[in-house]
Symmetry: C2
């Protein structure tokens, strides 16, 4: 199955694309830049959604749904936001097709069905949502308003890549309104920590929690927080963002509330989102030249069992044992696939489930039947061992926990090994080329210096870590004073 999967060391980018397709996660579609998320990929996304949704609800949020389209006049109401997204908007201009008079059997846009006002396919929903909030918020009693939406959004991208950058993608977007700046900032930070917990405890991806520089902020935000992970090629990937919007959208859409004291004030807003981009992070952070390596908590199939048999009678004996085990494991909430297809050989099945990243593989053959054993193989370390069959019901759950932890620790060790402190621009450039990863360097805090470094090295400031210690230093380019190091990297 995995025959011919390119090697990470030879062409990381090609390896990624091929792996995403061959493992059944996604593929390109007939629509420029839009992907098809295939059943196996979607099953992983569904697991992510379920976990995140539970986290959002546990922190007091409710789901709702707002229109796909944003009328142009609403879209342009918050100017910074509009300007930030204007260049990547898909625009609906007509609402009807008609038979093409010149081409029998073909259709064309009906020139008489032009919309009075163009509709933007939402690239993000602040505009339509804040316009709605105007009707929902009158008094401090209506606050905080804590809403999340699961939706598709469209950002017209010229260079696209499965999961990482697609014209249409799936995401969730939280939009909240608060009575005070302080409360809105607390919400922004809370959701950043929710994302970080999800990344570390489910994706098994260690992340830096930080703030973006003004240059890299979400269009219309006063502050953008982010989590940043490191991929195996040493590039960073922004895995989630949480924005403090101040009163920008409340002002643009005139959303005011009567305070407890009898005043009338604009509300304070936040928004925060993660997307199917997380699927890309999942693949890039952990997988290897044989295929996906899935952290057990997000694996649609956690255990696959392959019978190795000669003849129907032996298969029946194996199946009886296996189906009993399967039931026991499923009762513990573990998803188990018994692959008893008679159309494929065991070696083919092994390779296929390796490619698909199933964390634990159990094989059981004639000798095992005699000995009451089974062969247990871990996807992450590729270790195999012979185990007592009767022990599997206890061993497997513990093994899944161990794999989850190991995948995280491996990614953490990788990040630590590829995070370098540098003090000169020469060293900075050398490290980026020779040992790519996060580079911790001093920065003078100006957009000009940041821009210059970006142009000269393609590295950007990923974030100013929330836990970064104060440290006197000087900017590696300008020599101006700096109070702390920031995280640089080339990024997806």
């Amino acid at each position: 199955m995995s025959k011919g999967l390119p090697k990470r060391s030879e062409d990381y980018s090609l390896w990624y694309n091929e792996l995403v397709k061959r493992a059944g996660l996604a593929e390109n579609s007939a629509v420029r830049g839009c992907m098809v998320i295939k059943p196996y990929g979607y099953a992983i996304w569904e697991k992510m959604q379920r976990v995140l949704d539970d986290m959002f609800k546990a922190t007091g949020h409710s789901n709702a749904y707002f229109p796909l389209f944003v009328p142009k006049s609403l879209f342009e109401a918050e100017e910074q936001n509009a300007e930030g997204f204007a260049k990547e908007c898909a625009v609906v201009t007509h609402y009807r097709l008609q038979t093409d008079p010149d081409k029998p059997g073909k259709l064309r846009v009906d020139p008489n069905a032009r919309l009075e006002e163009e509709l933007i396919v939402r690239p993000t929903s602040e505009a339509i949502i804040w316009n709605t909030y105007k009707g929902w918020i009158q008094s401090y009693r209506d606050l905080p308003l804590l809403i999340n939406q699961w939706a598709n959004v469209v950002r017209w991208e010229m260079r696209t890549r499965l999961f990482l950058r697609t014209a249409e993608f799936l995401w969730q977007e939280g939009h909240t309104a608060h009575a005070t700046a302080q409360e809105a900032i607390a919400e922004t930070e809370q959701m950043l920590h929710v994302y970080a917990d999800f990344a570390e405890n489910f994706l098994a991806l260690p992340v830096i929690r930080g703030k973006k520089t003004p240059n890299e902020r979400f269009a219309g935000a006063l502050d953008t927080y982010c989590i940043e992970g490191l991929m195996q090629d040493g590039k960073a990937l922004q895995a989630g963002t949480s924005h403090f919007l101040g009163q920008n959208f409340a002002q643009a859409f005139d959303v005011k509330f009567a305070t407890r004291e009898g005043g009338l004030e604009h509300v304070w807003g936040t928004s925060w989102g993660v997307s199917t981009r997380l699927m890309g992070a999942l693949v890039m952070a952990h997988s290897d030249d044989e295929g996906l390596v899935l952290p057990p908590k997000l694996a649609p199939i956690q255990v696959v069992i392959v019978p190795i048999y000669k003849g129907e009678e032996q298969l029946a004996q194996i199946s009886e044992k296996v189906l009993g085990l399967k039931k026991q494991l499923e009762a513990k909430g573990i998803s188990v696939k018994y692959d008893d297809r008679d159309t494929e050989r065991p070696g083919f099945k092994f390779a296929e489930w390796e490619l698909k990243g199933v964390p634990v593989r159990i094989a059981i053959g004639g000798r095992d039947l005699e000995n009451g054993t089974a062969e247990v193989a871990r996807r992450d370390t590729k270790e195999k061992s012979s185990q007592q069959f009767d022990e599997l019901v206890n061993l497997v759950p513990a093994l899944l926990d161990e794999i989850q932890e190991n995948v995280f620790q491996k990614a953490l060790a990788f990040r630590e090994a590829n995070t370098t402190k540098v003090d000169s621009y020469e060293e900075f450039k050398r490290v980026l080329d020779e040992k790519p990863g996060f580079v911790l360097a001093h920065w003078d805090g100006t957009p000009e210096t940041e821009e210059r470094i970006k142009e000269e090295t393609k590295a950007t400031i990923r974030c100013i870590a929330l836990d970064s210690p104060e440290e006197d230093g000087v900017d590696m380019v300008t020599g101006k004073p700096s109070k702390r190091r920031v995280y640089f990297a080339r990024a997806y």
Copy 2:
């Protein structure tokens, strides 16, 4: 809260719209014909989704996701389907906005960013999905292919109505491919029965399972099956459809498979869907002049508990008891809201939860504390009774089951009382006006007669019931022979 809700008997349509808004289900948005699904409404939709999704998976289906856009050339490939939807398509023609040179601060479509090929916002996804299936299906081993998608779709409607008819709506659409016609028909029928089970056992809505006449078929289908429910105003509502597509889409998109015997054949297809329209059915079938009546299985809050107290101390005593009960009920999987707001009076709270259709309300006051009792009120029958507090943990689950059953039985009795057999056209018209509901009449099987009846009476053939008995008769309009009665009604 419910003050001023219009009465069903006076203006059913206004009652419906006001109820949907005031109960917090949905509202109109700034985008013509598109609605905002509010948190309480969305919570009901999420419950529907969860139940249906489990049913789809239990019948072997997997979820996937396909692009929002359909290139025009793909859209027009299956001609019947394209023709059927052409008049209600939102069309994306441009992919960028720019600053309007004539209006500072405003944006306009960038005339240089016109798409080479227009993109249709999917009104349904057969075209884009079958184009994808071409790459997924080569051999009989790839069949059946059983996929479902949860998505938004857009059909440009001129006269819209919350949930029932909106330009954008949420739905699921199943798309399956099979090796034989027989297998595809079995799938079409299976999914119809899944929908009917869902309608009856969760929505508490009795439905007629039937087939559409050729006139009313889905564009591109050989056969359309449907479930039809009856609303309280005597109008029918189509609550779900399942289509046997024959080889139409396989031919249009050239999807062939190598048979087991070595041949090469087009595959057979089905598609099936239900939408947020079900929310409209839910409201219209059961609710009353005080507000929603929700079947317990779909109620986001199944039990609300309201304390009636004088002073903090009494509240503390009540709260202690209530929180214990809440925990016990939640352990049984029941969702409980303890409404201890100090900003509203009990009477206000009662009216609010009535409006929102919470199936069971428990009130507990000072006298109850002394007596170890509580007042239990059912939303469906409005019956109130005093119960031993300690019995509630057993009584409430049974009561919820009883309410679920009662809501269904009430709707069933209504349908039976409003289904009339008629044998003459005069009687048909009289019944439609005087006792609207389902009218069972003979029909000669021709589209012409069907069309004439529709024009003259606004009633359509809702379906030919799957279980309709053979009965010799004559068409009430033409006098031509007929072998069975069909279901007529005016419909949403």
